[in-house]
């Protein structure tokens, strides 16, 4: 037994640290090596070494730097073994590269470069998200496959093909020039939003809320906002993420088997006031720009405004639902997606009663049949209407569709009650 037993990480902790550092390690190596595959393989080899050493030696003071250095050594070893003249040249270059581990400036941010490469318009949209989650988020192929509801082999092929295209077609590894940036943004914002959402409510059965993903998406959006302070949708996405992230401390209950706490039961004093204030300031900036005759708000600005209304309310009952409904109407004009309609139906139920909300929810049955939140939202409305049997069936259907442990615990709690506790 090591004398530093309490600081000795178990294999699970090593994997968690590795996942947290994955994007940084791969991004730096990709820049130094000019080869994503090599960077990813070297990072994976560094994990094997970490799994051997950390449980006995303890966690190094800067695990990210340790992983990068170890991975870089492995990559150089491999390049030497393979003895290809171009690679040897690269290895020589790399040894001379003493760029510090930490990012030094906005434009120099390696992870931002990696995002723009992963979200290049020459890659298929579904490949962009998958690559970003794989390389930046450190998700495994099976996890990404589960998130997209496709077979693992399909997802593995999709990622392999995209990486081969990056290499073969010489998709550049850099942040686009200022003039090209706005055109390239949309794809990047869409992907960052998806990464954030995966952290907000994870698809797999691991950690139910993956703060490292929400924070990574938030961090990258912040960097984009610094680069492009005048881009309203970047500002909107940043505000949206801040206002949602602010609620994280109140989103799980304190039970061992932590369950999600729905918005109406959250302890609002646990919301992060600093994040709320920052998000509100950004939303006010967006509103002022529109009021001054700027372009009408895009999807992310409208979504941020919805979150601003929620985080502005001292209690759930005090929420300005009329405002929420008006914003969802605005959103549907931009993005008539079934999920947006489902959220609008929730606001409608608060304003006009559960019967009206349910009628709208039921219209989405076909399109959202595989979406757990459709079943659980419907179940909540049915329960308010006293239709408990149907409500139970809805919660059970939701349970069958989600692997997220906190969402499952929440649904199981609700199923354990014959009726909902009074509000």
């Amino acid at each position: 037994m090591s004398s530093r037993g309490d600081t000795t990480p178990a294999a699970l902790d090593v994997e968690r640290v590795f996942r947290r550092e994955h994007g940084r390690v791969v991004a730096q190596l990709a820049r130094r090596l000019g080869d994503l595959d090599l960077a990813e393989d070297a990072a994976a080899e560094a994990l094997v070494v970490a799994l051997e050493r950390w449980p006995t030696d303890g966690l190094p003071p800067n695990p990210g730097a340790w992983l990068t250095t170890t991975a870089q050594r492995r990559a150089i070893d491999r390049i030497r073994r393979e003895r290809q003249r171009d690679d040897k040249h690269r290895a020589a270059q790399m040894i001379l590269d003493d760029t510090p581990h930490e990012a030094t400036g906005v434009v120099e941010d390696d992870r931002l470069r990696l995002v723009f490469t992963c979200c290049h318009p020459a890659l298929a949209p579904e490949a962009r998200v998958a690559l970003t989650l794989r390389l930046l988020g450190g998700l495994t192929v099976p996890e990404i496959a589960a998130a997209f509801l496709v077979p693992e082999t399909t997802m593995a092929q999709r990622i392999t093909r995209a990486k081969a295209k990056i290499k073969g077609a010489h998709i550049p590894y850099r942040v686009p020039a200022a003039a090209d940036l706005p055109a390239r943004l949309e794809a990047v914002l869409a992907v960052l939003y998806l990464v954030f959402n995966e952290g907000y409510l994870a698809t797999g059965s691991g950690e139910p809320l993956r703060a490292e993903l929400t924070q990574e998406a938030l961090r990258l959006t912040r960097v984009l906002h610094e680069l492009l302070p005048e881009e309203p949708e970047v500002q909107g996405l940043l505000a949206l993420q801040l206002l949602v992230e602010a609620r994280r401390p109140a989103r799980l209950d304190d039970a061992d088997d932590a369950a999600l706490v729905p918005l109406d039961r959250q302890d609002r004093s646990r919301w992060d006031a600093a994040l709320v204030a920052e998000g509100h300031a950004l939303v006010r900036g967006c509103l002022a720009r529109v009021a001054a005759g700027g372009a009408p708000p895009g999807r992310f600005q409208v979504l941020a405004a919805v979150q601003a209304v929620h985080t502005d309310a001292p209690t759930f009952a005090a929420t300005d639902w009329r405002q929420v409904l008006a914003l969802y109407d605005q959103l549907l004009a931009l993005d008539p997606s079934p999920v947006a309609r489902l959220n609008r139906a929730v606001a409608l139920a608060e304003l006009d009663g559960p019967q009206v909300g349910l009628a709208e929810v039921d219209r989405l049955a076909e399109r959202l049949a595989r979406y757990p939140a459709w079943h659980s939202t419907r179940a909540a409305l049915l329960r308010r209407l006293g239709r408990d049997e149907e409500a139970r069936a809805g919660d059970q259907a939701a349970l069958a569709l989600t692997a997220n442990t906190a969402e499952r615990a929440f649904l199981e709690q609700r199923l354990a009650h014959v009726t909902d506790p009074p509000d």
Binding site: H120, A122, G168, A169, H170, I171, P172, P176, D180
Partner: protein, 120 residues
């Protein structure tokens, strides 16, 4: 530096439309493509380019078997679209190649496919 094939595909409808055009109609197109070619050459990105004669003038040769090569009239595949012309360019990376391709597409008024050539 990486090389890319920029290819322009024609379909039957496009060919019929072009057959209707007079030389005068075509003149602005020729001029735009000439100007594009000049830009490619001036910036050192030009490798090679060519427009192809109509697909009806195509001939296929198959010498994969053991006997004499088999020569047949017509294109390799019975597709609705076929190669009408191409450029081979040198570009620093895909972004640079895509930029050339959009200029080429605007010049020849056709969709351009960008495909990397295998490295040495």
């Amino acid at each position: 530096m990486p090389q890319y094939l920029l290819s322009v595909h024609h379909d039957e409808a496009g060919t019929a439309e072009m057959a209707e055009m007079t030389m005068e109609d075509m003149q602005p197109l020729f001029e735009a493509v000439d100007a594009f070619n000049t830009r490619l050459q001036e910036q050192g990105s030009w490798v090679f380019a060519g427009g192809l004669m109509p697909i009806e003038q195509s001939t296929c040769v198959d010498a994969t078997g053991e006997g004499a090569p088999v020569v047949t009239d017509g294109p390799f595949s019975e597709s609705k679209e076929y190669l009408g012309g191409f450029w081979i360019i040198e570009a620093a990376d895909l972004d640079a190649a895509l930029d050339w391709a959009s200029q080429g597409s605007a010049a020849c008024q056709g969709k351009v496919e960008v495909r990397p050539l295998q490295g040495e």
